[in-house]
C-alpha cells in the first residue's frame, strides 16, 4: 500500500500528484500496480460544533444525548422563520459534550461498508445526521466514542481554525485513494516507504532524503561492548546453520524506561497504519509496525521486566513447542531459529518467539508494561523463509526477512522507535544498547561498463553509467579502462553479479529507450518443423476434416474414472503418476490413456443436450515405472555430468503423445434428406484408416479373442491397431457396461493411438511412384463362402497373394450370413480388377489368376461360389 501523504516524508512529491500518475511512475522502474483503491467514503462530512447535548436515559439502561450541532450555514437546519439553526442529532457516545468540535456525517454521506446516512427516527427524535467514530469512518479500530477534533492530534491553532461546515473529508484523508503495488521477490527494500520513495526518486528525479541517515546519526554510539554493560546481554549461538549461513548476523537491543502504560497511538499514525491495512493495537506495537513499514526493519517490543538476560538466539531443539501470539501451538524444528531468555540463570531456557516470524505469548508488552526492550535484528533469509513456510505463518516480518532486510539499519530503526515512544509514551531511552554485529562487508562487483551495451544494447558512456549506479546507492571505484568496482548498498542484497547492475542501469535509464532490431538465426542443420511435428498437425487436421471436433481435457483421473472404465485400480495406480497436492482429491493421478478424460468431455457435451458428438484429443499420457531410479537433487548454475543428466531423465515417466476419439449419437444426420445413422465401430475404424492414410502408414487391425479383449472394450468389437508388427493402439466400441457407467448410449465407438510409437515406425522417406498402366482393365466379382472365424483381413490377404502383381484393386461389396451359406459360415463378395503393366491380359491369364486365388483362399477354408 502506498499512501502519498506518507511517501512525502522521504521524497519531494510534486503537489497535486495523482495516484494514477504515482502508479505510472513506479511501474516505470519495475514496481507493479495491483490496484488503486478508491475512497469508500463520500460526503458531506463536515466539522460540527456541539451547541448543546442533553443526556436522556433510556429504558434499556443506555443514556443517549439529544444534541444540537452547528454544521455551518450551508448544512444547518432552517426553522419556521427561515433562520438557520443547528441540526438535531442523537448521539450515544459517552464522550459527547457541548462545546466540542466533532465530525458530522450528513444525510447523503456514505461510509465504508456502504453505510448510507439518512435522517432517522430514533429514541423519540429525528436524528438528522451522525457524529462519527474512527471506526465508522474507516480510520482505525477505535469505537469507544466519537472523534473529538480538539483531541485528535491537531494543534490548538488548527482546532481553533476549524469552522462548523468545514469539509472533513480532506482533513482526515477520507477522500484519498491508496495504491496497492506488487513487489517482486528480489526487491525486499521496496516493502518500505524508504524503498518506495527511493524508487520514486529513481523514476522522476524528485529529491529523496534517506531517513536512515539522520536516525543513524542520533543513535547512541556504543563505546563499550563488554558483556553485562549494556541494556541486556545477548548471546547468538547457532549450532545448526543452514547451508553454512548463520541464522542471525545482527542483534540490536535497546531499552526504554518509564513508559506510560496505555499511552494512545497518535491519530496520524493510526490513520497511516489503518490505511496500510494494519490494525492499531497499542502504542509500542504500533510503533514497531510503523518503523517496519517506514524504513523496512521488522522489530519486536518486549516487556523488559519479564525478560531475564541473557537473550539467547539459538536453534530449536527437537521436541520443543511454542504457542505463538495468535494462540496456535507449533512443534518446533531444529532448523527454527528462536529468541529465548534465561530465567533463573538457565541460558536460553525460555522461548520468546520464532525469530523474525512471530513472537510467543510470554514477554509481550501489555497494558501494564512500563519498561520496554526493543529488538531490531537481521536474520538469514533462508532460515526465516523455511520457518515461515513450515509453520504457515506468512507474517509481515517474515515476508520482509525472507526477501532481504538492510543489515545496517538496526540502530536507526531502534532510534526511530525510541523517538516515537519518547514523544508519545513519555518514556526515557537508554543510551547503552547492545549490538551483536557479525555482518560481513559487501563484496564488490567488478563491472565492465561495456556490459551495458553487450547485454542491454544501450550505448551509454561511463559517466552516465556511474551516475545511475551512484544514484541507486552503490559505492564506485576504479573506472580506468572502463572497469568499475561496485559495492552495492546494504539494502540491495539482490545485486551480486554484473548482470544485476546492467538491469539497474537499463531500468533507470528506461527500457523504452533500448533500440529494436531483429536477429538473424543462422540456418544450420534441420530447418522447419520436424517430421513428427508435421505428422501431429496432419493427424489433427485429418480428424477435423473427417468431421470430428477437437477438444482438450485436464489429464487428471481417479478411482471413479477407473471404475467407469472397468480398470483395476490396484493394477493401474502403481504405474500412474500421482500428484502430491492435487486440486481435486478424487483425481490425484495422471491419465495413462486419453479416453478416460475425453469421456468426461464427451459427457459434458451430452449433459448440455448435444446428442450427436464426435470428439478427439491429441495429448500426452504418463506412464510411471515403479522401478524407475530416483531422480537426484542437483544444484543449479553448474552443468551436471553426463551420468547425472542421464539420471535426471531416467527417473522421469514415459510421456508419449496419444490421439483418441469418441463417437456417440448419430454420425450421419442429413435432416430432411432422411439419411440417419448412429455411430458404431466402423466410424472409429474409418478414423484410424484416415490417420494411417494421411501419414502414409500401413495400419492393419488384429482382432483378439473375446476373452483377450480389455474389459473397457466390447468383447466382439475391438481390434488392436498394428503398424506392421508394432501395436500402436486400439479401436472399436466401448463395453456396454462402460457406456452404462458413463451414461452414454450403447455402441459408443472409440479409438486411441500411441502417436509417438506410430510416428517412430514411419520411414519418412519420399513415396516411390509406380508407373501407371494404360492397358485394358479386367473386372471380376468373386464371392466366397468361408468359416465365420476367418476374418475379412485374412481373406483379403489371401486374395492379394493369389492374384499377385496383376491385382489393381479389391473391394468388398457384400457380407452375408444366413441360411443360404449354412451354420458357422459367412459369405464375402469382392469386386476385383486386374491389369498388367505391359500387355493386355488374355482369357487364359485371367483363368490362371482366378485359379491361383481359389487355391490360396482354399487354405483358409474359403470356397469360391459359382
Amino acid at each position: 500500500m502506498v499512501d502519498i501523504d506518507w511517501l512525502r516524508d522521504h521524497v519531494d512529491v510534486p503537489e497535486g500528484l495523482t495516484y494514477e500518475q504515482l502508479a505510472k511512475d513506479l511501474v516505470r522502474v519495475g514496481l507493479e500496480e495491483e490496484e488503486i483503491h478508491q475512497s469508500q467514503v463520500t460526503g458531506p462530512i463536515v466539522v460540527g460544533y456541539v451547541v448543546d447535548a442533553t443526556p436522556e436515559p433510556q429504558k434499556n439502561g443506555k443514556v443517549i444525548n439529544w444534541c444540537h450541532v452547528d454544521v455551518g450555514d450551508e448544512y444547518n437546519d432552517v426553522d419556521g422563520d427561515g433562520n438557520k439553526v443547528p441540526r438535531g442529532i442523537v448521539c450515544g457516545a459517552p464522550n459527547m459534550r457541548a462545546g466540542e468540535k466533532v465530525v458530522v456525517t450528513l444525510p447523503g454521506a456514505v461510509l465504508p461498508g456502504d453505510f448510507r446516512i439518512e435522517p432517522r427516527k430514533t429514541y423519540g427524535h429525528v436524528s438528522d445526521g451522525m457524529c462519527a467514530s474512527e471506526r465508522e469512518l474507516g480510520l482505525g479500530d477505535s469505537h469507544d466514542g466519537i472523534i473529538l477534533l480538539g483531541d485528535y492530534g491537531f494543534t490548538p491553532e488548527q482546532v481553533e481554525a476549524l469552522k462548523p461546515g468545514d469539509d472533513v473529508m480532506h482533513l482526515l484523508h477520507l477522500d484519498q485513494p491508496i495504491l496497492e503495488i506488487n513487489v517482486t521477490p528480489d526487491r525486499g527494500y521496496a516493502f518500505s516507504y524508504r524503498g518506495i520513495a527511493r524508487e520514486f526518486h529513481n523514476s522522476t528525479g524528485a529529491e529523496f532524503t534517506d531517513p536512515v541517515t539522520d536516525l543513524e546519526s542520533r543513535a547512541p554510539h556504543i563505546e563499550d561492548q563488554e558483556a553485562g554493560k549494556g541494556d541486556i546481554e545477548v548471546i547468538v549461538q547457532d549450532d545448526n546453520p543452514i547451508r553454512g549461513v548463520a541464522g542471525c548476523d545482527r542483534y540490536y537491543a535497546r531499552a526504554l524506561h518509564g513508559y506510560r502504560p496505555g499511552s494512545p497511538t497518535p491519530n496520524w499514525m493510526r490513520r497511516r497504519l489503518t490505511r496500510a491495512g494494519m490494525r492499531s493495537l497499542s502504542l509500542p506495537v504500533d510503533v514497531t509496525n510503523y518503523v517496519m513499514m517506514d524504513i523496512g526493519q521488522p522489530m519486536h517490543a518486549y516487556d523488559l521486566d519479564k525478560i531475564e538476560g541473557p537473550i539467547v538466539v539459538r536453534r530449536a531443539r527437537q521436541g520443543e513447542t511454542l504457542v505463538t501470539l495468535d494462540g496456535k501451538e507449533h512443534d518446533l524444528d531444529p532448523e527454527d531459529l528462536l529468541i529465548t531468555d534465561s530465567p533463573n540463570g538457565e541460558q536460553g531456557s525460555r522461548i520468546l518467539g520464532i525469530a523474525g516470524v512471530m513472537g510467543g505469548q510470554y514477554g509481550e508488552v501489555t497494558d501494564e508494561t512500563t519498561n520496554i526492550l526493543l529488538e531490531a535484528a537481521h536474520f538469514d533469509q533462508v532460515s526465516i523463509a523455511r520457518s515461515s513456510r513450515r509453520h504457515k505463518i506468512p507474517s509481515e516480518a517474515a515476508r520482509r526477512f525472507e526477501r532481504g532486510v538492510d543489515d545496517q539499519i538496526q540502530p536507526a530503526a531502534a532510534q526511530q522507535a525510541v523517538d516515537l515512544l519518547v514523544e508519545y509514551g513519555n518514556a526515557t531511552a537508554s543510551d547503552t544498547p547492545r549490538d551483536v554485529d557479525d555482518t560481513q562487508r559487501r563484496k564488490h562487483i567488478v563491472f565492465k561498463a561495456s556490459e551495458v551495451e553487450r547485454v542491454a544494447g544501450l550505448e551509454l558512456d561511463l559517466n552516465e553509467i556511474s551516475a545511475i549506479l551512484t544514484d541507486i546507492g552503490c559505492a564506485l571505484g576504479g573506472g580506468g579502462n572502463g572497469e568499475l568496482t561496485v559495492v552495492p548498498p546494504s539494502w540491495r542484497p539482490d545485486l551480486t553479479e554484473p548482470c544485476d547492475l546492467v538491469e539497474e542501469v537499463a531500468r533507470i535509464y528506461g527500457y523504452d529507450r533500448i533500440p529494436t532490431r531483429v536477429p538473424n538465426a543462422p540456418v544450420t542443420g534441420h530447418v522447419g518443423l520436424t517430421a513428427d511435428q508435421l505428422h501431429q498437425r496432419q493427424v489433427a487436421d485429418e480428424l477435423a476434416q473427417y468431421g470430428m471436433v477437437e477438444t482438450l481435457s485436464y489429464p487428471f483421473v481417479g478411482p471413479a474414472d477407473y471404475k467407469a472404465f472397468s480398470i483395476d485400480a490396484q493394477q493401474v495406480e502403481p504405474v500412474s503418476v500421482e500428484i502430491v497436492n492435487p486440486l481435486a482429491a478424487d483425481r490425484p493421478f495422471l491419465r495413462r490413456e486419453i479416453l478416460l478424460t475425453l469421456a468426461q468431455t464427451l459427457l459434458r457435451n451430452v449433459h448440455r443436450g448435444l446428442e450427436n458428438v464426435s470428439v478427439y484429443e491429441l495429448g500426452h499420457v504418463y506412464l510411471a515405472d515403479p522401478d524407475a531410479p530416483a531422480i537426484p537433487a542437483l544444484p543449479g548454475g553448474v552443468l551436471p555430468s553426463d551420468e547425472q543428466l542421464a539420471a535426471l531423465d531416467a527417473g522421469l515417466p514415459e510421456q508419449p503423445l496419444h490421439v483418441a476419439g469418441m463417437f456417440t449419437g448419430l454420425v450421419e444426420d442429413n435432416g430432411w434428406l432422411g439419411d440417419k445413422r448412429p455411430a458404431d465401430w466402423t466410424d472409429a475404424v474409418e478414423a484410424v484408416r484416415r490417420i494411417g492414410a494421411c501419414l502414409g502408414a500401413d495400419l492393419t487391425l488384429e482382432q483378439p479373442d473375446a476373452q483377450a479383449v480389455p474389459a473397457q472394450w466390447h468383447p466382439g468389437r475391438m481390434a488392436h491397431v498394428m503398424a506392421g508388427e508394432v501395436p500402436v493402439g486400439m479401436v472399436g466400441e466401448l463395453h456396454p457396461h462402460v457406456d452404462d457407467a458413463l451414461g452414454l448410449p450403447h455402441h459408443t465407438a472409440a479409438f486411441e493411438l500411441d502417436l509417438t510409437t506410430l510416428f517412430s515406425t514411419l520411414s519418412n522417406k519420399p513415396v516411390r511412384a509406380k508407373p501407371i498402366s494404360t492397358f485394358p482393365l479386367v473386372r471380376q466379382d468373386l464371392a466366397f463362402t468361408l468359416p465365420q472365424d476367418v476374418t475379412a483381413a485374412q481373406l483379403k490377404a489371401a486374395i492379394e497373394e493369389g492374384a499377385g502383381d496383376v491385382l489393381e484393386s479389391i473391394e468388398l461389396f457384400d457380407v452375408y450370413t444366413g441360411d443360404q451359406v449354412g451354420e458357422g459360415m459367412k459369405s464375402l463378395a469382392y469386386a476385383v480388377t486386374f491389369r498388367a503393366p505391359d500387355r493386355t491380359l488374355t482369357a487364359q491369364d485371367n483363368e490362371a489368376t482366378r485359379a491361383r486365388i481359389v487355391e490360396r483362399t482354399a487354405l483358409l477354408g474359403a470356397q469360391l461360389r459359382a
Partner: protein, 355 residues
C-alpha cells in the same frame, strides 16, 4: 395411291404440301414420327411416286426425278427444323420438371473443427519457423532441476513459492524444505525447455517451445490449472535486449495485427537478468486501445547459461514466454476461461475452417 399406280405430279406435290403443313402443326416427337411415316414412309404418296417414275418415258423421267428431289428436300428441311424445335422444347420441359429449391439446407457430411488453442500454437510455431528458428518440446512431468534449479530458482528461492506447483509423489528422502519429494513436478513453465534445449543442441540456439504447463490455480473465469505457454530462447554471440524487443514486436504484429506493438516494464524472474514484464498494445482492447499484460521476458541469467555449460562472458541470450490462453482470450474476445477448457464442441465449431 397404291402400288403400280401412275405417276401423278400434282397429287404427289399436294401430298407433300399437306405433309409439310402437318409438320408445322406438330408439337411432339410422337406426332412428328407419325407424320413422317404417313408422308414419307413406305406407303406414302412420295415413296410410291418415286417408284412410279420407273415406268415413265425418258423425258418425263428426268422431269419427275427433278420434282421428286425438290419435294423430298422440302419435306426433309421442314421435318428437320421442326424436329430440333420440338426436341428443345421437350428437353426444356423435362429440366423444368427437375427444378429444386437450391436453398434447402444440405449437410451431407458433418463439419469438424480444430480447437483454436492448438491451432494458435501452430500459428506461433509457424512464426518462429519463418524466422528460421526450431521448435522443441520437453516433458510435462519434469525434474525439479530443469524446472527450477537450472533456471536459477534455488531450493529456498522465494520465487519457488510464487508459483504454486503440483508436486509428484516419489519415494525420496526429505529435501531441504522438509518435503518428501521425488524431485519431480508438473512443469510450471515451458522455460524448463530452455536448459534442455541448450544442453541438447548447444549454441548458437534459436528455439521456441510451445507446450502445456500446470499450476495449482482453481479453474475460474481467468485461471486454469492446466494451460499453455510458448517459450522462446535465443542464445548467440552479440544478442542484446534490442534483439528481444525486435522479436517481440514482430510476434505482436503476427498475433494481433499491424498496429500491435510490445512494451517492456522492469520486473523480476530468476532465470533472466535484466527481466521485464511484456505488455502488448492491443488496438481492439475492450473499451479502447491500450496496454495489456502478455508475458515475461529478459536476458538469460548467466547462471542459466552456466547450468547448460555455456560461457556467459562469450554468449548472451534472450528468452520470453507468452500465455496461449491469454492470447486467445484477448484476440477472440472470450470472456470466460471455462469456454476454452471445457471441450464443449460448440466452442470449437465457431472456429471451423480457418481463424
Amino acid at each position: 395411291m397404291a402400288e403400280g399406280t401412275q405417276f401423278d405430279a400434282e397429287a404427289v406435290a399436294e401430298s407433300v404440301a399437306e405433309g409439310i403443313a402437318a409438320i408445322e402443326q406438330a408439337s411432339s416427337m410422337e406426332e412428328l414420327k407419325a407424320i413422317k411415316t404417313r408422308y414419307a414412309g413406305a406407303q406414302s404418296a412420295m415413296t410410291l411416286a418415286s417408284k412410279a417414275i420407273g415406268s415413265l418415258d425418258k423425258d418425263s423421267k428426268k422431269e419427275a426425278g427433278k420434282l421428286m428431289g425438290k419435294l423430298r428436300a422440302d419435306f426433309g428441311r421442314a421435318y428437320g427444323t421442326k424436329e430440333a424445335e420440338v426436341k428443345a422444347a421437350e428437353e426444356a420441359a423435362e429440366l423444368a420438371a427437375e427444378t429444386v429449391d437450391m436453398t434447402l439446407p444440405v449437410a451431407r457430411k458433418p463439419l469438424g473443427a480444430r480447437h483454436p488453442l492448438p491451432k494458435l500454437m501452430e500459428d506461433v510455431q509457424d512464426f518462429f519457423v519463418g524466422m528460421g528458428w526450431q521448435i522443441s518440446d520437453g516433458p510435462e512431468v519434469e525434474t525439479e532441476w530443469f524446472d527450477f534449479d537450472a533456471l536459477n530458482f534455488g531450493p529456498d528461492h522465494p520465487a519457488r513459492q510464487m508459483q504454486d506447483t503440483f508436486y509428484v509423489k516419489g519415494n525420496q528422502a526429505k529435501d531441504a524444505a522438509g518435503f518428501v519429494g521425488s524431485n519431480m513436478v508438473l512443469r510450471t513453465q515451458t522455460s524448463s525447455d530452455q536448459v534442455r534445449g541448450l544442453i541438447a543442441h548447444g549454441v548458437p540456439l534459436y528455439i521456441a517451445c510451445p507446450g502445456r504447463v500446470f499450476r495449482t490455480d482453481e479453474l475460474d473465469a481467468t485461471h486454469t490449472p492446466v494451460f499453455h505457454q510458448v517459450e522462446a530462447l535465443a542464445v548467440d554471440k552479440g544478442l542484446t535486449m534490442a534483439d528481444l524487443k525486435g522479436v517481440l514486436d514482430k510476434l505482436a504484429v503476427a498475433m494481433f495485427g499491424p498496429e500491435a506493438k510490445s512494451r517492456l516494464r522492469p520486473s523480476y524472474f530468476p532465470f533472466t537478468e535484466p527481466s521485464a514484464e511484456l505488455d502488448l498494445w492491443f488496438p481492439d482492447k475492450k473499451g479502447g486501445p491500450g496496454w495489456i499484460e502478455w508475458g515475461g521476458c529478459g536476458m538469460v541469467n548467466p547462471n542459466v547459461l552456466r547450468s547448460a555449460g555455456i560461457e556467459p562472458d562469450v554468449y548472451t541470450g534472450f528468452a520470453f514466454g507468452v500465455g496461449v490462453e491469454r492470447t486467445l482470450l484477448l484476440r477472440h474476445d472470450i470472456n470466460d476461461m471455462h469456454d476454452l477448457v471445457e471441450g464443449d464442441v460448440r466452442f470449437s465449431e465457431q472456429f471451423v475452417m480457418g481463424e
